[in-house]
Structure formats: C-alpha cells, structure tokens
Symmetry: D2
Subunit: 109 residues, 4 copies
C-alpha cells in the first residue's frame, strides 16, 4: 500500500463519516421515518466505522488493513440500503459509501 492509497482512504472514510451522519440526521426528519429504520441504523454504524478506520490509519495502526476490510463491508451494506431510497441525502450517501467501500477494499488487500 502506498502513501497515496492511505491518503485517499483516510479522505474517503472521513467524507463517508460526514455523509452518513448527514443522512442519519435527514432520515430522522423524514415524514415516513418508519421506512428509514434500516437506513438510520446503518448510517450510524457506517459513520462510526469510517471514523474508527480513519482514527486507526492516522495513528499508523498495524490493524488498519483489517479494520478497513470490515469498513468496506459495512460501507457496502449501507450503500445498498441507501440506494433503495430516492431522497437526495440517501442517493448521495449511497454513492459515497460505494466509493469508500472500494478504496477500503484496496487498503485491506
């Protein structure tokens, strides 16, 4: 893994943390909040996981690759859930989660 890959992975994780927390906030304001249950849960889980991955990478943790492997899976699942909903916040979250999952998978390899 190169310095550039690490750099990109930290940036995508922090971006994903932000977009997931934005989506979490927006989902809780939706009129049909019952439809967003899974999205709310996954948004929190994914935001927290991305934050944790960024913390590990920035402190040069020897566990960064394994943490990113798990992060990739949670991002994938969160992205798939968000992709089911038409709202702009969900679509934006789905895109960022997929991008982050891809970069995390490379870090994990």
């Amino acid at each position: 893994m190169t310095k550039e890959q690490m750099r990109e992975c930290i940036d995508e994780c922090l971006k994903c943390m932000e977009v997931c927390n934005n989506c979490y906030d927006a989902c809780l304001q939706e009129e049909d909040v019952a439809m967003m249950r899974d999205c709310i849960r996954l948004d929190r889980m994914c935001a927290d996981m991305c934050e944790f991955a960024a913390r590990a990478m920035t402190q040069n943790s020897p566990y960064a690759a394994q943490i990113c492997a798990l992060c990739a899976q949670i991002c994938e699942d969160c992205g798939n859930e968000c992709a089911k909903h038409d709202m702009e916040h969900c679509q934006r979250c789905a895109e960022q989660c997929k991008r982050c999952a891809e970069v995390c998978r490379k870090m994990a390899a």
Copy 2:
C-alpha cells in the same frame, strides 16, 4: 452561525484529528520519548476531542456549540505543548491546533 462556518469547523476538526494522530505516532518514535510524554497525551486527547466534535456537527447535534467550546480549549493546550518542540510534526500540529481552536471558538460563540 452560518453553513460556511459549520463547514469550515468540520474541516478544521477533521484535519486536526489527523495531524494530532500523526504527531502522536511520530512522538512515540522519537529517541527522547520521555520529553514527549505530555505531547503524546495531549495529541490523543485532542485528536479524540476533534473527532467527537466533527461527529456532533455532522449529525446536526444541538450540543455542537458547547462541544466546540471544549474542543477549542483542548486544541489551545495541545497547540501550546507542541509549540515547545522543534520537530516538524510538532510544529505542524501546533499550527493546526491553533487554527482549529480559533474556528471552534467562533462555532461556540
């Protein structure tokens, strides 16, 4: 507080988290690690506080201002400690901490 101020504050907190964790890692590799005790502690504390502030702001927390007030103080203290050391990682951390403290103070106001 405007959207631009919030945007800037999230960015500075995430940058500060990263730079503090980098400094923490570098301090632990210094030959004279005994001299870096306070820096190591404050780097971790400041990185964690900035991360927590970013988490609160991105989820639109009503406590963001109060969290940023506390973050400003910890950034200030961490910046002052880092400023005492000549190493590039400490100087860079001192600068980022001061910038973050300033922006957090505005958020808190």
Copy 3:
C-alpha cells in the same frame, strides 16, 4: 474528587452508555417510530457522550471535570425526553440518565 467518586462516575457513564444504546435499538423497533425521533437522537448523543467521558476518566485526563459537566447536561436532557414515554426501555433509560447526570455533576464540581 475522591477515587470512589471517580470510580462511581465511570461505572454510571458506562451503564448509561449501555442503557441509552439499548433504548436507541428498541426505539427503532417501535411501531410508532415517528414518536421516538427525539429519543433516538438523544439516545445516540448521550451514549456517545457517556462513552467519551468514561474514556477521558479512565485515561486520567485533566479535562475529565469539564467533559463530565457537558455529559451531565446531555444525560439530563436525554432523561427528560425518555421520561415522556411509557415503554420499559425508555423508563429504564430515564432513570439511568438521571442517576448519571447527578454523579457527573459531582465530578464536574
């Protein structure tokens, strides 16, 4: 602040983190989830704040008192919101939040 007070405060914060996350999970499963919006948000915020306070206290942070002051306020607010709902998970959360708020206030003094 004595060692016993610190011990009690760590225990109450960790208990509160757990009970708030349990309530968050249970609220997201309620049929009338729309009624639980504020509770879900405050449960997450309070669980995260209590976790952060416990992290600070266990690492002997000089900011423990200030962090506990903020924690006390968030526990108070979360407890008041939970107290409005009759469900067992909310009532249990309201009680724990109030107990934690009280102990945190003493730590902060």
Copy 4:
C-alpha cells in the same frame, strides 16, 4: 450466542477498555518510558477497539461478531505485550486482555 454470552462480552470489553486506559496512563508515567512505546500504542488501540465493540453490541449491531473477532486479536496482542513487563498495571492489563480475547472469540464464533 445467548444473552448471557453477550452480557459477559460487553462487561469484559468495558473492563478491558478501562484497564488498558489505566495502563496507558501509567506507562506514560514510567521512568523508562522508552521501554513502554509498544505498550502505550497497544493500550490505546485495544481500549478504543473494546469501546467500539461494546458500542456495537449494546446497539444490537449485526456486525458485532465480526467486530469481536477483530477485538479478540487486538486484545491478544496487547495482552502479550503487557505480559512482558513486570509492573502491576501491565500484569493486570495482560490478564484482562487475555480474558477479554477469550470471550470475544466466543462471540465471534
């Protein structure tokens, strides 16, 4: 996995978070802090990982088993490092890490 296993795993993770952060604090106060570099790093990493695992379990996360698998490995490594040092804080941390690793492995299975 039974409710009792989950209960035990949350308790061991929270205990381990506390003991690792105590050890981190004590290591930073050791006269020969250079000898404790790896211990300091692993203490922080392990404390943060255990905290994250407890957060996931208490919110009933579907990723709890995978998070605990990773937690078990970090606890194992932290316990092995701490076991090399005679200080009481390290010996206590080594014991708790081994206990937590074992319980996390069962959760992960």
